[in-house]
């Protein structure tokens, strides 16, 4: 597999995640889409590391794992709090800061 094809896969996966964040109304699905984007970046990192050698990119991927885990933990806590306030997690319900 040429590196370009792997980067294309990564690009499409990132686009899918981006589309999920923009299009979906469910807050949980939006968070899942953010995870998709992080994983697309990880795939690109691992592919490039395989081509040029060295393990720096692997360390970067592990740091992304840490950030993703913390992000999910905090994000889920926020989602639970929002659900307690409005009994829904449809993002359309949360317009208190609309100008």
């Amino acid at each position: 597999m040429p590196l370009e094809h792997l980067l294309l896969f990564s690009f499409v996966l990132f686009s899918l995640g981006c589309a999920g964040v923009v299009l979906r109304k469910n807050l949980l699905v939006m968070l899942m889409s953010v995870e998709l984007m992080l994983n697309a970046v990880n795939l690109a990192f691992v592919g490039v590391a395989r081509m040029i050698g060295g393990h720096d990119a692997h360390i970067m991927v592990m740091m992304i794992y840490v950030v993703a885990a913390v992000e999910v933990a905090i994000g889920m806590a926020i989602v639970v709090n929002m659900f307690r306030q409005k009994d829904t997690i449809d993002v359309n319900s949360f317009d208190a800061m609309r100008g």
Binding site: F9, A19, V66
Partner: protein, 245 residues
Amino acid sequence: MDPTTLALYALCLLALAGGAGVIALRNPVHAAISLLFSMLALGGAYAMLQAHLLAALQILIYAGAIVILIVYVIMLLDQGREAGSPIYELGVAVGVPLALVLTIIAAPAFLGAEAGPDPLITGAEDCTNCESMAVKVKKPDGSEKAVSGCEDHVDTDGDGFTDCNDTDCADNTLCYGTVRAVGVTLLGPFVLPFEVASVLLLAGIAGSILLTARRPKKYADTLAAPAIQPAPGPTLQPGGRGGDA
């Protein structure tokens, strides 16, 4: 096409299918299962790319922890199916043409790959990998020692280091991407990010506890959050959460 390349294509396509399922399926539980498939397929793709440790971590952390946490929250909230259309019609109307234009712009860069030796399968010279990840460590007597992923190799040229110059280091796949090789890099040049990550994890623990803990009534009033009802009973005493009373 050799089996590794074939498996890599198949796993990447599976990951894309899972990703499409995440944004297309209406039921959040189905979306989470789709995300799980995507994560597992990516773990397999990492294994095909010789990132063995990352493949294991991908399955342990993403498939085993993050997706399960998401499923727990879905079950906890039990908000049912989304009312009406699950997506924004305006977003589709604007986003799809924009995505098409971007794809047309970006496609030549990706599809211009010429056939030839497969860089992702043949990869970098593994002995170069051994050398590039070697870290010089000072021993107590002042001398320097190179620590790499190849300690179990033999120092064939007698220069004191087991490195790429040793003929014994030819079986490079043992070096690249293994737990030992990545661990030497992580705890060598990248030990500071490794330690900072622990602070981030601590902040995550503290933040998630503070955000989800039910507050005593006097804090609930200040938040102007009418839906937060303090649980009755003697367990909640004002100022009982030590430190912030």
